[in-house]
């Protein structure tokens, strides 16, 4: 019997769903063991009946063993869909950093909604000024962006922006085999092969306006640690996993750019801002050299960590 799977996306971008598709032939191999009953990106199952005439007070998601949810919760529709998924699914997986920690869209938690609306509908150079869209058909915004576990119970967290396909595969296969998945628990730094010489040489971090120093064509393992090159790198305070099972190095390091923390904190309830400032201080780096410290929470602003001034 194939395992029934339901999938939903909330305050998200679809990158997590593309990461699922990037499983490629691995996905084709496990497909016979899965039965998708609801997945809006690929399949036409509707909330209110296939003829659109169902009860609009009853959002229908078929029962499934596994529920994959990407995206955080920002409006009333997200909340209703999340609650319906929880009701229909035995195991709920928070897929991606928006679902686990709010992700990039939780940066809006640093602003007031009225300022957002003012800018969007009355303050842009191209927009003909208009009152805020307020038709009853539109889901009202909630007061902030939430991670999934602030509103519903989550059984498994798969952070990443997006998660690596290897971890998605591991989660699916583990569930099929009835065991706990084996997921990364260390920091990006712990899995980074760059050369580190020790603390204390760098006193300030600089903005990333000139490229890192490295020999073109040589492996990442021959490049010096970017933090030790004076670039702000979030590797020390970010959950590992972006390199997948067989990657040579964290993915941003392959691009020769510093980590910005897209897998969220190392510990689920960590605080990337405080952890990073601590990491800098313990390396003798002046914290005031960080431009826009609020950005250190750019991937994990839910759980009330980023707040409007």
């Amino acid at each position: 019997m194939p395992v029934k799977v339901a999938s939903e996306w909330l305050n998200s971008c679809s990158g997590c769903e593309i990461a699922i598709l990037n499983l490629g032939e691995t996905l084709l191999a496990v497909l016979p063991q899965l039965e998708f009953v609801h997945i809006p990106v690929l399949m036409d199952h509707k909330y209110f009946g296939q003829k659109g005439d169902g009860d609009i007070h009853h959002l229908d998601i078929p029962e499934a063993v596994v529920g994959l949810i990407s995206g955080g919760i920002r409006n009333r529709e997200h909340l209703e869909v999340a609650e319906a998924m929880r009701k229909s699914c035995q195991v709920v997986i928070a897929l991606g950093t928006c679902a686990t920690h709010g992700g990039i869209p939780s940066l809006i938690n640093g602003f007031r909604d009225e300022d957002l609306f003012e800018r969007y509908y009355r303050g842009s150079e191209t927009t003909d000024p208009h009152a805020n869209p307020n038709d009853p058909a539109l889901p009202p915004l909630l007061e902030r962006t939430y991670a999934l576990d602030e509103k519903i119970k989550v059984d498994l967290y798969l952070p990443g922006c997006p998660p690596h396909p290897d971890q998605i595969a591991e989660a699916i296969v583990a569930l099929l085999e009835g065991r706990s998945p084996n997921l990364p628990t260390k920091s990006v730094c712990d899995t980074c092969p760059t050369i580190r010489e020790g603390k204390g040489k760098v006193k300030k971090v600089r903005r990333f306006t000139e490229n890192a120093h490295f020999e073109p064509g040589r492996p990442v393992s021959e490049m010096h640690c970017l933090l030790e090159q004076g670039l702000l790198c979030m590797g020390p305070v970010t959950r590992a996993g972006c390199a997948g099972n067989n990657g040579d190095a964290p993915r941003c390091l392959i691009a020769r750019v510093p980590c910005r923390g897209c897998f969220g904190p190392v510990q689920h309830d960590g605080n990337q801002l405080l952890d990073m400032l601590n990491a800098l201080a313990s390396n003798g780096i002046d914290c005031s050299s960080v431009t826009d410290a609020a950005s250190l929470l750019r991937f994990s602003g839910a759980h009330n960590l980023v707040r409007a001034k």
């Binding site: 598709l21 296939q50 005439d53 409006n75 009333r76 209703e80 539109l138 889901p139 972006c242």
Partner: protein
């Protein structure tokens, strides 16, 4: 408190509809698209279509929350606007920051940017055609919803499906191996690119890109033979409206460009004006309706206002594949040019049929593969000077690229410290919101009469939306 905000998110499709007890059909969510939207079709007492609406449900606020961020960080933030086309936001944003900081990009930096952006287009077009759109044509608009999807195609044509999955996967991995991240990229930076390309990397990509071009040729031949040549007039006319078009062309010869050039705004009669990125706000405006969080861009330069009336539309233009093929004078790669000539001979210029977006998409797939080969055969692409000098400071920059879904505009202003203090972004799909509303109305009128509503009819309404690949 939250419970009282509103009774339910799906509360009465049209408030006024609920009051008059008229029947409303909810197509929710719209599926096999990227994004959150629903269609509401209101019927009159005779069961004919009284009105239709496309409600865009999401508002995340990128333009607001990048305020205060160091501009050089923003290309790594705004790529999260879209997980299908993050390369488009990433490159357009970098161009805008270049403008703010008056950074000069070395030739190899520009070429690497274009290479990545066009390679990403290849994967996107394969994804849209086979995974999202094809089920309606291969399995039929009226097939059971449980099989009318890519999984159904895997069942019905396992060899084709395996080939598609393999080629798309290979395309994604080609980018990832060189650029680190393929979803939510980081390798493009203000002033250029974060790393240079080695000769070995160039050769490996070149070999694989030749396979991609062969596959693209197979795709368009397959689609023409099995789908496009067989389309009946009703399907070709599905969701057809009359509109103008917007896209990017090369300034010197009016040829198709996905990466750089001038913007061309064409009226339905084929006349057009070209303008630079910096002039966009003189030519384009955005209209707001109460029932959609998404705005509706229109052609401000035509000075006729905004109306989605099917018979007398005002200010309405479209973007995305069909628009780009309509506005360009030619395509500078031979195979795609031959396809364009056949297309124009059959449908004229500008072509208006909404379903032709699919055909145009595969012509662009051929172009993208040919363009990637051109770039990889350019010896300058391995030059190690890939990033120019970047000095944070006050300025304004407008960066554009053609995203798969249409012309993408990022407009930023920075303060003395190089922090963003104002941003205006017009995303590809947004330009098509008003046209999609019109296409929905056109299909609904043709497939729903006297209260007869079938699943197939409603799927045809969605097919009109899917053609725009929102």
């Amino acid at each position: 408190m939250e419970q009282k905000i509103v009774e339910t998110a799906a509360d009465q499709a049209f408030a006024h509809g609920a009051c008059s007890k008229k029947k409303v059909i909810n197509i929710q969510p719209i599926t096999r698209i990227e994004g959150h939207a629903r269609i509401a079709i209101q019927l009159d007492d005779e069961g004919n279509v009284a009105d239709t609406r496309l409600n865009v449900m999401a508002l995340r606020g990128f333009e607001k929350f990048i305020e205060g961020r160091p501009a050089e960080e923003v290309p790594r933030i705004v790529n999260r606007i879209c997980g299908i086309c993050p390369w488009m936001h990433h490159t357009a944003s970098n161009k805008a920051v270049d403008g703010c900081f008056q950074a000069e990009v070395p030739p190899a930096g520009t070429k690497l940017r274009e290479l990545m952006q066009v390679m990403a287009q290849i994967n996107d077009k394969i994804l849209h055609f086979f995974f999202l759109a094809a089920p309606d044509f291969v399995l039929g608009a009226g097939a059971d919803y449980a099989v009318r999807n890519v999984l159904g195609i895997v069942q019905a044509a396992p060899e084709l499906a395996a080939q598609v999955v393999k080629m798309r996967q290979a395309g994604q991995m080609m980018i990832e191996k060189f650029a680190g991240k393929v979803i939510h990229p980081v390798v493009v930076v203000p002033g250029g690119f974060a790393k240079s390309m080695t000769e070995d990397e160039r050769r490996e990509l070149l070999e694989k890109s030749k396979e991609q071009l062969e596959f693209a040729r197979f795709c368009i031949d397959f689609a023409k033979k099995n789908i496009f040549y067989k389309l009946d007039p009703d399907t070709v006319g599905l969701g057809q409206i009359t509109s103008g078009f917007l896209g990017t062309v090369k300034a010197d010869d009016g040829s198709l460009s996905l990466f750089d050039g001038v913007l061309r705004l064409m009226k339905a009669d084929g006349s057009y004006q070209d303008f630079t990125y910096q002039q966009y706000a003189d030519f384009l405006g955005e209209h707001v309706e109460d029932w959609s969080y998404s705005k509706m861009p229109y052609a401000r330069a035509w000075d006729e206002g905004f109306s989605m009336d099917l018979k007398e539309p005002k200010g309405i233009y479209r973007v995305n594949t069909l628009a780009r093929l309509n506005v360009c004078d030619k395509i500078n790669t031979p195979l795609a040019q031959a396809e364009l000539e056949e297309f124009r001979k059959l449908f004229g210029r500008p072509a208006q049929s909404t379903m032709l977006y699919h055909w145009a998409r595969l012509i662009e797939l051929v172009y993208a593969c040919e363009r990637v080969l051109e770039l990889l055969e350019d010896p300058e692409i391995t030059d190690t000077n890939v990033r120019g000098k970047v000095t944070p400071g006050a300025g304004r920059g407008v960066g554009c690229v053609e995203a798969p879904r249409g012309t993408l505009i990022h407009d930023y202003s920075t303060d003395d410290n190089g922090l963003i203090f104002r941003a205006n972004i017009i995303v590809g799909t947004t330009h098509n919101v008003a046209p999609m509303n019109m296409s929905i109305r056109a299909v609904a009128d043709s497939v729903i009469q006297q209260g007869q509503v079938s699943e197939e009819a409603l799927n045809k309404v969605e097919m009109a939306v899917r053609a725009y690949d929102p």
